[in-house]
Symmetry: C2
Subunit: 321 residues, 2 copies
């Protein structure tokens, strides 16, 4: 498969992961971008298994050209917590046995891959990060000039005015490595944060999953299978089998498939204390009664609403794979 | 003035304060309760001036029978920050010179008054706290059996899923003494928290203020004057002269003048770290997609919505004074 026309080089950092799988597939199906590398990080699953999952998904899509690098196993502080087997399965992809790709991860680490790509595509590289931000933080530590060569960064993570999902205040990607998130959000680059406030508003239903299962294509039916366990996990939250579209929403916002309608640039600080707010993204949204004007000098764009539901667009794109 | 019929004994702890003045007046006008004591605490203004303001307002209402005690000048940790003169005026009541009551504060401290009242009205005493929770924390330290003698506690404070008003995460009453709030909310008594989530939804307009100014009664016109500066403070937030009804909403909820419609009992922890969430009330509201069921074992009721706007009811009651 060759991507048509001019497209933006994009590096995906992920902990594949059920919704990471959807994000990866969406980016493969997006003519607007050229997926030039995938890094893994421990989060939903450990970094090595996450990389294997990415390789398997890429193979099903006929995209063995995309390098996959293993990233950080442990967060900056402490150690990997064992992932979320009840959410993403023991193997990260809903306990579905994907056909093994037979391909190996790169000799480069995820940090090395990201830094190399940032030189090859200097000024053009786009970054989408849908796992803990450990790799990005380590890349910034290794080369503080990285932001000069990155066009923008889109992060699925955090909760602004929405409850957290792993603690009352914290969302999983940020909670699993608050120190890394604090470092990444403290740097001067163009970050779009896609928090639970908006990802929980985009839901995949059984009809959407059925469309994937019946696609008759190489990858999409597997995605339908992978979603099965994840749909069950959402029953206590939504009262029915379905799933929030966390990671694919960040991918779609990065690509332009969904457009933010409320997304102020405001100061964002990550709580890296050991208090009850640990892992919280403290966003200064005190402008709410004034329609959320940008705060002068603030770098981070916090997405609070979008123009359209992601699910129909996501299905349409995934059915091409 | 004698309150008609059986009414519940109520102790008000406040930092008077413009909206505290409205809360105090509302409670005087409420036949449902008998205001048996007022304690002051530093917050909007220092504790001594707050007590003087309460004395002056009580005198205008002909209620020199209500004892007023001075409470804590400093929070549990650190010292009084100088109040909020740009919000409440240099004297706490919008720089309006109220007629001096000529009455003295009690020899008792606010803590001593609260503890004595809890014995006199054991099992019946209701507490409304609309300032920092320093006095309540000190009373609990002085006598940990206090909760056994208090019917319920209604607190104006905190921000649950709403931005703070003094930091991105923290509301003023809690932010001014997070350690005290943490202690008060950790105790096993029946606390209703009335946070910015709901107080910002209740707004007093110029027409309401004009009604007070033209009341032709002893106290109400003074309250209209006191609100003038406070109305100006709200212009950057709401785009017009008006005011949120923080403290009187807590009073009205305690009295039953306004009824909570969404008010789950959920775990609430106060962030007393030195991190970006300091002073935040971390409420576990992860049940939002299930309609906010009570969390088993949780003590604190967090009010998120009410049945009716407070302003018309508040005006009606204040016009009687």
């Amino acid at each position: 498969m060759t991507l048509p026309g001019p497209s933006a080089p994009l590096y995906l950092d992920c902990d594949t992961g059920v919704d990471d799988s959807l994000a990866l597939a969406y980016l493969l199906a997006a003519p607007e971008v050229d997926l030039v590398g995938v890094g893994s990080v421990s989060g939903n699953i450990d970094a090595r298994q996450g990389a294997v999952n990415s390789l398997d998904l890429l193979a099903l899509a006929g995209r063995d050209d995309v390098p996959v690098a293993v990233g950080a196993h442990d967060p900056l502080v402490g150690s990997y917590d064992g992932g979320a087997p009840s959410v993403h399965g023991r193997n990260g992809v809903g306990d579905v046995a994907l056909p093994p790709s037979g391909r190996e991860v790169t000799a480069e680490s995820a940090v090395e891959l990201l830094l190399r790509l940032s030189h090859e595509h200097a000024g053009l590289l786009r970054v989408v990060a849908v796992g803990p931000l450990t790799n990005l933080a380590l890349a910034l530590r290794a080369d503080p000039t990285l932001p000069e060569r990155v066009l923008d960064v889109t992060v699925m993570g955090g909760a602004a005015l929405h409850p957290g999902n792993v603690t009352p205040a914290a969302e999983a990607n940020i909670a699993k490595d608050p120190e890394a998130a604090a470092e990444v959000l403290a740097v001067d680059w163009d970050v779009t944060l896609v928090p639970l406030d908006v990802t929980m508003a985009h839901v995949f239903e059984e009809a959407d999953r059925k469309a994937l299962l019946e696609a008759g294509t190489a990858l999409a039916p597997w995605l339908g299978e992978v979603l099965d366990l994840y749909f069950g996990f959402h029953v206590p939250t939504f009262g029915r089998r379905c799933s929030a579209l966390h990671d694919p929403l960040a991918a779609a916002i990065a690509v332009g498939g969904v457009t933010p309608t409320v997304a102020p640039r405001v100061p964002v600080v990550v709580d890296a204390t050991d208090g009850p707010g640990r892992g919280q993204t403290v966003c200064d949204l005190r402008g709410l009664y004034a329609g959320y004007p940008d705060v002068p000098g603030a770098r981070t764009r916090v997405v609070l609403a979008t123009d359209a539901p992601l699910a129909p667009h996501l299905v349409e794109r995934l059915l091409t794979l």
